[in-house]
Amino acid sequence: MANQTAEKLSRDEYFYGHKACAGCGGALAVRAALKVLGQNAVSVLPAGCMSAVGFNFPQLCFSNNSIISTFAGTASMLTGIEAGLRARGYSDFTAVGFAGDGGTADIGIQALSGAIDRNDNIIYICYDNEAYMNTGIQKSGLTPFGARTTTTPAGANIHGNLRPKKNMFEIAAAHDIPYAATASVGYLADFIKKVEKAAQIKGTKYIHVIAPCPTGWGIATDETVEIAKEVVDCGLWYLAEYENGTFTLNHKPKDFTSVEAYLKKQGRFKHLDLDDIKTVIESRDKKWAFIEKNFTYQ
């Protein structure tokens, strides 16, 4: 399946020559999505890693039409572009946003909610590297429990971030959005399939893709894909879709791999003690009980 997807994927590059760190999961997600959406994709990227590494005049790294939006304005700029191009008589294009976790779940959530509410014909892709990586690894609303960031230090009193990830997938779904999905660059074929599917659906589409950041996560630069796979295999992330009012689970691990092993591989979780890890596992199990109850599996 993965090989077939790779063979089908366009050889054209739309995002290259940029300054992303080695092993950047976000860059991989953007590159793959644009290969699916092609030349007539118009990409909008807010302030964040991908705009910081891709738009340094005169070194401009997108070969499709691309524009930086304000940090809070990914979705609202997508709306304007989609409406403007339509008003000018274009129909064969895709307005696609690539915003990070902070740009989506924190500062950009209002504009995103507005766009979904209007059912604007756009694809919004959140590349989630679980902290404000561009500014130097500060906590965002999508930083997981226990993670050490530069604003959630791990010390004797507080063991990193105290709060779980905001549930953006179900928040998007709660708008009764035409299509929402979760993905991971560790399951790239699944992500690509979801981008392909989103491109065929009219209205607002939201895809939330886990995109590890070796710099911020404290992993080797060649471990990005592996760790992005492992987060799904150990059950701390899941691959799912929301469509026509129904949640569908796309991938069900037979047995979860070790949560502890997943956490201990990463510098940001090294400080967690057994109680912390127990909390993470309990939270995972609670989530999966919810999934078993409310998601169909195919």
Binding site: Q39, N40, V42, V44, S51, A52, G54, F55, N56, F57, P58, L60, C61, F62, S63, N64, N65, S66, I67, I68, S69, T70, A72, G73, A75, S76, M77, L78, T79, G80, I81, E82, A83, G84, L85, R86, A87, R88, Y90, F93, Q110, A111, S113, G114, D117, R118
Partner: protein
């Protein structure tokens, strides 16, 4: 051409209908609401073929307009007060990206304390945002500016967004008889927007990019130059407007009986009419009074102001604004114009109308008396003092 009895907001909406924007993004705020209500009705009845986007905030209103403009579309939005401040980030974004958006601002007081009435602290706080700023005096001028501002903004020498300011309630909600031009006239005056600064599928672009210390300065300089080029483009646009519509406007400022005036009051917006009437009455008493109404605060009419004031004995600046800890911003700008031109005459700042407080004909007559006799540099009308002492208001 037809005549209708319209409020300032309604007149402006008629001007926007004639300009045929492709995209309108709108979020309601008093006293701007009537504009977007009327535009939504025009879209509903089919007399305006625009994409009408119900955005969820002013930040998104302007962000959406920027996206539309980047796609090569003509984009309009409107706001006021807190809304203008909320979208402030996008103001700089639009001007830096050279997106010729037109926005109406209903000039309104800024919180705290909360207040919905008219003053100009909202727009004047954004003088540095890179937008052309023009202040209408009456409903007809508002409608005409709705048409002219597009032609100025979209001129390739300018490529700068325009903020058209209407005094909240006093102008936005006051009804006057207004001439509505024919669509054919408007089409002749305002051709469709054509630009290279847009998304292009044949020649894809990376837009709104980063520029480091070596090039950033150059982009800023070019934006400044574009704004300065608007001075000539305003004049050309007004001449073309007069040819088609028969109304001639007076450029960056409007001088009234200043040629032989000893005492000149400089102001902006809807209060100018009362200032001119007061000057007429004073002239009947033998006092040679004149009025300068600044129409464009950006680009600022430095030379024109100096020329209008150079033969006067003294001047005053009446504005609905104060920069706390200093003085009114219009006063600062006018003083700078005179200093650069070597005009050395006494000048006084009259700050009034904050939070919608009325400015009466008697207040204005007193200002002329104070200009003649000399007073504090900064005066708060109805409160007194220069801001250093106790208030008795």
């Amino acid at each position: 051409m037809s005549k209708r009895f319209l409020s300032g907001n309604e007149a402006f909406a008629e001007g926007i209908r004639l300009a045929k924007p492709d995209v309108i993004s709108a979020y309601p705020i008093t006293p701007q609401t009537i504009v977007v209500e009327r535009l939504s009705e025009m879209v509903e009845d089919g007399s305006l073929k625009s994409e009408f986007i119900h955005v969820e905030s002013e930040h998104s209103a302007l962000s959406c307009a920027i996206g539309a403009s980047a796609s090569g579309a003509r984009a309009f939005t409107a706001t006021s007060s807190q809304g203008l401040l909320y979208m402030a980030e996008c103001l700089y974004y639009a001007s830096g990206g050279r997106f010729p958006i037109v926005m109406m601002n209903a000039d309104r007081s800024t919180a705290l304390p909360w207040n919905i009435y008219g003053d100009q602290r909202d727009s004047l706080s954004q003088l540095d945002s890179g937008w052309i700023q023009v202040y209408a005096e009456n409903a007809q001028e508002a409608l005409d500016l709705a048409l002219m501002s597009w032609r100025i903004a979209e001129d390739s020498r300018v490529s700068t967004p325009v903020m058209v300011n209407l005094d909240g309630f006093v102008l936005t909600h006051t009804y006057e008889t207004v001439e509505i031009p024919e669509q054919a006239q408007a089409d002749r005056f305002l051709p469709p927007y054509v630009t290279g600064n847009r998304i292009d599928f044949d020649n894809p672009k990376n837009m709104a990019f980063s520029a480091g210390p070596d090039t950033n300065f150059v982009f800023k300089y070019k934006a400044h130059a574009g704004m300065l080029a608007a001075k000539d483009v305003v004049a050309e646009t007004e001449d073309a407007f007069a040819e088609i519509f028969g109304r001639q406007y007076s450029g960056l400022l409007d001088s009234y009986r200043t040629e032989d005036a000893d005492y000149i009051l400089v102001t902006l917006g809807s209060i100018a009419g009362l200032c001119r009437e007061t000057a007429d009455r004073l002239r009947e008493q033998g006092i040679r009074a004149g009025v300068v109404r600044i129409r464009y605060m950006r680009p600022f009419p430095n030379a024109e102001i100096a020329a209008a004031l150079q033969n006067a004995k003294a001047f005053g600046v009446l504005e609905k604004d104060v920069s706390f800890g200093n003085e009114g911003t219009v006063y600062t700008n006018v003083n700078s114009a005179l200093q650069k031109a070597g005009v050395r005459i006494p000048g006084y700042n009259f700050i009034g109308g904050l939070g919608g407080r009325n400015i009466s004909a008697g207040d204005i007559a007193q200002m002329f008396a104070d200009i003649q006799d000399g007073t504090e540099h900064v005066n708060f009308i109805g409160i007194g003092g220069d801001g250093n002492g106790e208030s008795n208001g």
